[in-house]
């Protein structure tokens, strides 16, 4: 086992050399700027290199998809962003996009086509699961074999796009101790961050949504809460802190679990 430096391929550089990657890996704003979530992106990039995937990121040319603006009712700003992103995609002849953020996934897959931005959009969970099913990615280290793990469905993968089986199939390969929360799959409770709630104070109520969802997760007695969305991660990590359980219970993204189990 020896460490090798990864140069994350950037689309503009590849094009300058006359190369064209198979996939665009869309990092998303949280991946670029949120310190906790940067680690998730790093983990996923390690897996991509481990698998020798032909991909590139946009780097400085990436911008917001417009999702939070759209969900907050600012259609004008959303479409301005979207048209800008579609132009960039056109420039780099993008047709396959891997996303890690479910919000970016949903908007590319379901909403950009209305603006003539039509691509094959793949969630990293679908991508990873496919490699696992095809036997190209082997999860056999057993690091998490006896660890109980629960999974919080992000609304924009779950209810929004019916992606329920891939995360579960991956997690069940990592651990024999996968546990469901009472509310799961299409019944999963939102973490409280969707629809641009992430960026504002919640309305007056008797509890924060993220605390309620953290309680759901704690009830399973899982040692790891697996998430698959940057906002869910912020919310549930905050929830664990609020409950003073962040020392004993970890909130990790599925990409991190895979990277760790493969000792990447």
């Amino acid at each position: 086992m020896e460490p090798r430096k990864i140069e994350v391929p950037v689309m503009a550089n590849l094009f300058a050399r006359g190369e064209k990657p198979e996939y665009l890996f869309w990092v998303g704003c949280a991946g670029a700027f949120d310190d906790r979530y940067k680690k998730v992106v790093r983990a996923f990039a390690k897996i991509l290199s481990h698998l020798n995937v032909s991909y590139a990121v946009l780097g400085k040319e990436e911008t917001c998809t417009g999702d939070p603006a759209r969900r907050a009712g600012n259609e004008m700003l959303y479409q301005m962003q979207a048209l800008q992103v579609i132009e960039i995609f056109k420039m780099y002849e993008v047709n396959k996009i891997i996303t890690i953020c479910p919000h970016c996934f949903n908007i590319f897959k379901n909403e950009y086509p209305d603006l003539d931005g039509k691509y094959e959009v793949i969630s990293y969970l679908q991508f990873l699961n496919k490699y696992i099913e095809e036997g190209k990615l082997k999860l056999d280290s057993g690091l998490f074999k006896n660890v109980t793990i629960t999974y919080h469905d992000p609304c924009y993968l779950g209810r929004a796009n019916n992606i329920y089986s891939e995360p579960r199939s991956i997690l069940k390969k990592l651990t024999a101790g996968f546990v469901e929360m009472d509310r799961n799959k299409s019944f999963a409770l939102c973490c409280g961050a969707g629809g641009a709630q992430m960026f504002k104070e919640a309305e007056k109520g008797d509890k924060e949504v993220f605390i309620k969802r953290t309680e759901d997760a704690l009830k399973t007695s899982a040692e790891i809460i697996a998430t698959a969305c940057p906002f869910c991660m912020t919310m549930l990590t905050d929830g664990l802190k609020y409950k003073n359980r962040e020392e004993e219970i970890k909130n990790l993204d599925i990409a991190e679990l895979i990277a760790q189990s493969l000792e990447l």
């Binding site: 460490p3 990092v27 670029a32 939070p68 603006a69 259609e75 004008m76 301005m80 019944f187 309305e203």
Partner: protein
């Protein structure tokens, strides 16, 4: 002769009134903006078969689902008996279907079984609402009329079903006494069990009782028919249409706004004159402020709502004590539409008042939504409350610039930095610094 005439008169009156009310509702729904939904016909029929006829979304709550199946199937089956009642009423016959001979008591007995199932369902539903007090039937929008409405429906159904049973029981006794008006058509399974209650009555009293129940049932059904369109019970008709016309896209997809695309393209081309000169149709208002700003499909949603509250009971905002209740928004939409409809009929299509839906649906409710789609997922008749909320948010933001301050901040961050946070795009690759992977 006279009963026949009265019967025909009552029937015509009831059907006529029902027709006019349904036409009124249809006109009110058509006050919404036009939207063409005639794609994927086969898929839509299948969806309707599964969700509306097959009740597929009910099953997530098993007790309510089973009881609802009892009431739903029971009511449909029992209404076959209505056909006989209609024939008897119009032609002055008695138990017309008895020509089926040995089959007849089987037929009537099975109607009775379904009738009992309906009654069981109604009793369970009444106790869930009034004794167990299931939380979703006691939230703030479920006061006065909505609460009484549900009870009126259930109690009426109980009365209607009891009338059939008592009618059959008296009929059965009269048959056994060889009353010449009551030809022996066989004994009925369940009403037979309650015959001892009435066996002490004289022939004359029994005939009156049987006739009273017959009239009570038919007049009751016709009255109930006319009550339905004024009630949440209208879902018994509209749910089929509403499911047929529901969104087939993934739930995460929001409705596109081509008017904005047009506006942006106009701005980018610098051709502002294009619109001002009136060369093109008016782009109009962005988002929705009042019922008529929504599409007819959204308004149909509002009329289909059965106020079951599954949406609200799964809404993360509502579960954590926030004011938002998707059901309330749907009910507000319907109530406001009824009001507008009434005034449009009185004052013409130009009618406006100084109020709007946004006077009843507050900003606090609208901004509490996480767009998680739990409400839309739950709805047994595929109502989409998120679409309503987003349309109103669009109006608030694009027409009124009335977004919460924090959201205005992310708008300007997105516009200026290309991210909801205030970071420079130059830093977008910092995550990739000093990245190493272990080679095995």
């Amino acid at each position: 002769m006279i009963p026949t005439l009265i019967f025909i008169l009552v029937l015509l009156l009831a059907v006529g009134l029902f027709y006019f009310k349904v036409r009124t509702i249809s006109q009110e729904i058509k006050l919404g903006k036009p939207i063409e939904i005639n794609d994927n016909k086969l898929r839509r029929w299948k969806l309707m078969a599964k969700v509306a006829i097959g009740q597929s979304k009910m099953v997530t709550r098993p007790v309510a689902a089973i009881m609802h199946i009892f009431v739903y199937v029971g009511f449909v089956i029992v209404n076959i008996e209505m056909l006989e009642i209609l024939i008897d009423g119009i032609f002055g016959t008695h138990r017309f279907f008895s020509f089926t001979g040995g089959l007849y008591p089987v037929l009537i007995s099975s109607f009775e079984i379904f009738g009992i199932a309906v009654m069981l369902g109604c009793i369970v539903f009444l106790s869930r609402r009034n004794i167990i007090r299931v939380k979703r039937f006691w939230s703030s929008e479920m006061k006065l009329w909505p609460r009484s409405d549900a009870n009126i429906i259930l109690i009426t159904e109980l009365f209607l079903m009891s009338a059939i049973l008592i009618m059959n029981a008296s009929d059965g006794i009269l048959q056994m006494r060889h009353n010449f008006h009551y030809a022996a058509v066989g004994s009925f399974l369940l009403s037979g069990l309650i015959q001892p209650l009435f066996s002490g009555l004289s022939d004359g009293t029994l005939v009156s009782l049987e006739r009273f129940c017959w009239w009570f049932h038919i007049v009751g059904v016709l009255a109930f028919l006319n009550y339905i369109p004024y009630s949440k019970h209208f879902h018994v008709f509209l749910s089929f249409l509403n499911v047929y016309y529901s969104k087939l896209d993934p739930q995460g997809k929001m409705a596109h706004m081509p008017s904005i695309t047009k506006e942006i393209k106009m701005m980018l081309s610098g051709n502002v004159k294009y619109n001002a000169a009136g060369g093109d149709e008016d782009i109009g208002q962005f988002g929705s402020r009042d019922c008529r700003d929504f599409t007819w499909k959204v308004l149909m949603d509002a009329y289909t709502c059965t106020e079951c509250g599954r949406c609200t009971s799964s809404c993360p905002a509502n579960l954590t004590g926030k004011k938002l209740s998707p059901r309330k928004i749907v009910m507000d939409m319907r109530d406001r539409l009824e009001y507008i409809g009434k005034n449009v009929r009185k004052h013409g299509i130009e009618f406006t008042d100084d109020k709007s839906l946004l006077d009843v649906v507050t900003a606090e409710e609208l901004w509490a939504c996480t767009t998680c789609n739990a409400c839309a997922t739950e709805c047994p008749v595929t109502i989409d409350p998120v679409a309503m909320i987003i349309e109103m948010r669009r109006y608030m933001v694009m027409e009124k610039a009335a977004a919460p301050a924090e959201l205005n901040a992310i708008f300007s961050n997105i516009e200026n930095n290309g991210a909801p946070w205030q970071y420079s795009n130059e830093d977008r690759l910092l995550w990739a610094k000093d990245l190493e992977v272990n080679i095995h």
